[in-house]
Every structure is written in structure tokens, then in C-alpha cells.
């Protein structure tokens, strides 16, 4: 589904990703872990097409297409979804209206018919039950005055509505208490099937207790330095990132 080969990218002359290789197949959950500044969020941003980042080498293929050639909205249309670490607020724009616009824009991209108000509300009701979402939240302005937990639940709800093939969760657990993490993780689990895949980016093992990965990769200084199964995450949790540093030997900065 997603193949990243030797991906190099940076921001304003500063090289952050120094050759990432990753292969994600339908039905899989991959976790990317790593200390602060290792390039985790950069990877998420580059995959979603944020313009601040410049790709300097390598390739990303998604369902046979060159992802890097597509605009952010085209990537969304192809089925790439990013759950933001810091979801933005848009005052005055109701969450429902925003999601309806998004759903219909994505449908338009895919050559599907627009959902009218009735079918949209029906779909939304369905997903609200599934995700245990509150109607009140959806009538409020997008993310405005939402608590950290509400923002993240809103992200996952949007994921449910847009039904992406690949969901990238960028530190979805940051700033959440343990109950909120469980709710968010359960939400993602309900959306999983053999045709979609999830890329979880996180500092900590605790999210992975609920959202169990098939593969865990450790990102360090712009490279994936170690890959393994869910046990690797537990090991990291126990030993800290220093054990990785020791294992690979400390590299000097470029």
C-alpha cells in the first residue's frame, strides 16, 4: 500500500529525514517511536504534503501512485488521513459543516456523487454511535475551546467519516489521560479492517497497549535504526531510548 524508499527531507536547509525505508501493507498497524527531534512528526507532515518541508531525495509510492507528486488535498482524496498532533481551530465554522465539506470534496475527487443533507446526517449518526460521539461537540465551532481529549476524538471521528486507506496518527496520545487514550485507541480499532492500514507515531508505549501494532520501528536522527514487533515497544519502555543509542553507537550530528 505504502512504500517509502530512502526518503530524505528537511526544512530550511536543515536535513531531518536522512533516508527512511518503510513498507506498509493493507491490514497492518505500524508504530514509529523515537525520542524528541528524531523526525517523527516531520515524516507525518511530509507524507501529508505540508509545504514547509522540502523533499530532497527518495520516493513515496501509495497504491502505485507517486504520492510526492500530489497536492495535500489530492492525497486526502487518495485515502491518506493525518490525525494532527495539534488540530487547528476555525472559529465560526461548525464541526459538522467542516466534515460535510470534507466528505463531499473527497467524494468529488473519487468521482462519487455528493451526499445530500439527509444521507450525510444518516452517515454521521451511524458513526457517532460507533465512535460514541456527542452531538453537542459536532455543532460547536471546529476545535474551538475543545479540550485536548475532545480535539483528538474529533480527529478520529473525522477519520471514521472519511474512511481513509491509510491513517497516520501523529502523537494522538500526547496530552491525553489514560481514559482518553483508551477511548481514542478503541475508536481506531473499530475502524480497522483488512483493507486499511494505520501508522501510529508516538513517544510512549501506553497507546500501543490498546492499539496493538504489527510492527514497531525506532526512528532516531532521521533514520529507522531498529524494527521489530510489539515487544520492541515494551523493551523501549523499560530501557528508555538510551539503549538504542548505545546499541547503534552515538552518531555525530550533520
Amino acid at each position: 500500500m505504502l512504500r517509502i524508499e530512502n526518503l530524505q527531507a528537511g526544512i530550511e536547509e536543515k536535513q531531518i529525514l536522512k533516508g527512511i525505508n518503510l513498507d506498509i501493507k493493507p491490514g497492518e498497524v505500524h508504530a514509529i517511536m523515537g525520542p524528541n527531534g528524531s523526525g517523527k512528526s516531520t515524516l507525518a507532515s511530509v507524507l501529508a504534503g505540508r509545504q514547509d518541508y522540502e523533499v530532497t531525495g527518495g520516493s513515496v509510492t501509495f497504491e502505485g501512485k507517486d504520492l510526492l507528486e500530489l497536492s495535500p488535498e489530492e492525497r486526502a482524496g487518495e485515502g491518506v488521513f493525518l490525525s494532527f498532533q495539534y488540530p487547528v481551530e476555525i472559529p465560526g465554522l461548525s464541526t459538522t459543516n467542516f466534515i460535510k465539506t470534507a466528505v463531499n470534496e473527497v467524494r468529488k475527487y473519487r468521482g462519487q456523487e455528493q451526499l445530500d443533507a439527509v444521507s450525510f446526517l444518516k452517515l454521521m449518526k451511524e458513526k457517532m454511535v460507533l465512535m460514541e460521539m456527542d452531538q453537542a461537540m459536532l455543532s460547536r465551532s471546529l476545535n474551538e475551546g475543545f479540550s485536548g481529549g475532545e480535539k483528538k476524538r474529533n480527529e478520529i471521528f473525522q477519520m471514521a467519516m472519511l474512511q481513509p486507506k491509510l491513517a497516520i496518527l501523529d502523537e494522538t496520545d500526547s496530552g491525553l489521560d489514560i481514559d482518553a487514550i483508551r477511548i481514542v485507541a478503541n475508536g481506531v480499532n473499530k475502524l480497522r479492517n483488512e483493507n486499511n492500514a494505520v501508522l501510529v507515531i508516538t513517544h510512549y508505549q501506553r497507546l500501543l497497549d490498546y492499539l496493538v501494532p504489527d510492527f514497531v520501528h525506532v526512528l532516531y536522527k532521521g533514520r529507522i535504526v531498529k524494527s521489530g514487533t510489539k515487544e520492541l515497544a515494551l523493551e523501549l519502555e523499560k530501557k528508555g531510548y538510551d539503549f538504542i543509542k548505545n546499541e547503534i553507537g552515538v552518531e555525530e550530528d550533520v
Binding site: A48, G49, R50, Q51, D52, S71, P72, E73, R75, A76, G77, F81, L82, F84, P87, V88, I90, P91, G92, L93, N97, F98, T101, A102, E105, V106, Y109, S141, L142, Q158, L162
Partner: protein, 481 residues
Amino acid sequence: MEEKYSDIEQAILSEYKYGFVTDIEADEAPKGLDENTIRFISAKKNEPEWMLQYRLKAYHQWLKMEEPSWANVKYDPIDYQDIIYYSAPKQKKKLNSLDEIDPELRRTFEKLGISLDEQKRLSGVAVDAVIDSVSIATTFKAQLAEQGIIFCSMSEAIQEHPDLIKKYLGSVVPVTDNYFAALNAAVFSDGSFVYIPKGVRCPMELSTYFRINAENTGQFERTLIVADEHSYVSYLEGCTAPMRDENQLHAAVVELVAHDHAEIKYSTVQNWYPGDKDGKGGIYNFVTKRGICQGSHSKISWTQVETGSSITWKYPSVILKGDYSVGEFYSVAVTNNHQQADTGTKMQHIGKHTRSRIVSKGISAGFSNNSYRGLVHMSKNAANARNYSQCDSLLIGDKCGAHTFPYIEAKNNTSVVEHEATTSKVGEDQIFYCNQRGIDTETAVALIINGFAKEVMNQLPMEFAIEAQKLLAISLEGSVG
């Protein structure tokens, strides 16, 4: 609604012989302004002597006045002797099909969702007469007349309702009020007159669309609305479609009078030609709009969506004379490219327990400048009066400007004045967030600005609001690169 509009417009076109305007030959006054010009206009309109005297008085007043220079706008001096002050209703150049229209204009029409018939009307394509159309227009007229509502052109009102005109014309905006108001009083071409009798709730939104002879109100438009005791009217001015007009200077005057327990709601969507991307051309829109809450418990509410004109100079105001009267001003002003807007309101609290509310949303993009200018005046007798003002500015890009000039004068110590102001920018983060959900940048900007302007848009009548929303988006096209 659009279908109806176009039907009615067709009625207007096919019934153009209606009214006294027919008598006018297709001729113009010579360029320039002097007493003769005014006598010419008055004679052409077959006006009574008192109206001519009114105009002349205004003209002499105007000669003594100076063009205001305090607004935060810049433009080359206007040569008032280079303007034609009267020209008979001109037939627009007829086109044979929509294919002859400027493709850019056509695209805008489509984005606004304007029906084909309406597109033809606006761009001057000949339309076939529809048999039904006449009856629709007359049905409206009959319905209004049944309730004693007067809704006609100002010219017609001067002929048919001289007592009302003598009583109210200039009663809110006197000829001495300001330079442009004096000019308007001297040379106004036409406009609308509305009178709602006691206790009548006007059954429909009144719009110039529904008025016979609505076209060619010209550059000096004059509107007067009087709501008698316990009456209600909602009036819509303007049109969301782009109006190309060769007159550069527009100086309209609107006067509203609300008696005891009466309510007037006045909504404007202004989308005149803003000039091109380099700031060439465009309309100077210098308007005086004022309402008086004459009676107790009366209410006047201004709502405006200003997206057009190269320069806007406009302060719809309310004189809160009656005790417990209420004044409201809701405004969205959008400036893009090199447009300049200096707009706001005045709330003059005179009566006791009067209340006013000001919500102003300025959106600036490109190289434009957008100023809010507002005065809240609490007079000595306005015991327990209250005002709440909120002025928000939204910037798109970093070459535009937003300015706020709030003036507060409190002459008593029981009144309360509150003022809040914010400035924000459309963030790249917001746009990227929308992009990531599949929404392109143009649509994202539309969502963000409509969210920003929501409080004002909510005040617009439904059918107007939807078009106005699209209009906001179109006005800002290309502002985010």
C-alpha cells in the same frame, strides 16, 4: 427565488412603458453642475416647485461645503464638473446570447449559482417575454396595496405622495449634513420610497427587485423608508451579482424613520465593480445612511455585506431618540487587491434605556486597507443606555491593513459602553488542515472567512445569506497563493 426574480425582471423589461419615466426622451444634461443642471433635472422629472426649491437649497449648501478628508482612504481629486448629472434611462446594449459575455463574468455568475435567465438580465442579453411574469409582479403590488403599504420609486412618490415626502425627506439626513448628502439632495436621480402604515407587518421582504422601474436608479440614489407605529418591514438593497457601472462616483442617501414600536430591518449586499487587480477603475461609494428611532420601543437594524467598490465610505447610523429604542449594526466588509474601505456606524443615544449593538467584521487581503470607524454617543439624558461593540479584523497575507477607530462619548454616568476588538490572520496551519481533509485552498478560505463572518451573515434573510456567502469567497479569490 432566482427564477422569480428573473420573471419579475422580465416583467419590468416588457412593461417598461409603465409610469412617467416613459415620457423622457433619451437625452442627457450637459456635463457639469450649476443651477441650470438642477432646474433641468427637476423639469425633466416634472417635479413640483417645492421639490425644485429643496434641490436648489441643497445645491447652494453644497457649494459652501468642503469634501471630507478625514477618512482613511486615498484617491485623486474628483472633478465635479466632469460628471453628467442626468441621463435618461439608457437601454443597455443588447447581446444576442450568453456566449457574448465576458467569460470572467460568466464564471462568477456560475459560482454564485445565478440562474440562466438572471444571468441574461444582468448582462443585458435580450430575453423572451414570459406571459406569466406580468401577473407575478402585479400580484405582489396588489398584495402590498391591500395592506396600505406604499412601495414605489422616489419620483413616483414625489408626484403621488407629496405630503409624506415633504414631511420626511431630509428629516433624518438634512441637506446640511455632509458634502455628499448635500450633493445627493441637489441632484438625486431616483430611488425607493416605502411607507408601512400603523400596525402593518409587511408580508414580504421588500427589494428593489419587486419594484417596477427599479433599473437605472443611477449614481445618486435616494431611499426613504417610514415605518409607522407598531409596523415592521425588512428591506433588501443590492444584488450579489457583479454590477458593472460606468459611473465612478456613487453618493446615495438612505433615510429610515421608525415610529413607536416599529421595526425596520435594512440589509445591503454591495458588490459594485472594485477595480482591477492593479487598483485601476472601480466605484467610489460615498453613502450616507441613517435611521431615526423616533418612537419609544422602536428598532432599526442595519446589516451590510460590502465586497465591491474601490473606495467605500459608509456609516449606517441610528439616532436612538425614543426611550427603550434599539439600534443594531452588523457589518462584513471585505477588501482585496487595492480596495479601500472606511466603514462603521454611529449610535446616538438620546432616549432613556436605549440599547445599541455593533458587530463589525473586516476582512482584508491583497494590498487593501480596511478601517472600522464608529462613534457611540451617550447624551446627557440617555439614562441607563447601553452599547456593546465588537470589531474583529481578519487579515489574509501581510500586505494589507486593518484599522479600528472607535470613538466613545459618554455624557452621563448611568450608561454602559463596552468595546471589544480582535485581529487575526488566516493561518497556513488552518489551510493545511483543510487541505489534509481533501478541501482545496479556495474552499478552505471560504470556510474560514464565512466562519469569521457568521454572526453577521446570520442576520441576513435566508436567500440573501446563501448568495452572500458565495460572494465572500469569490471576492477573495486568488488572495491566498
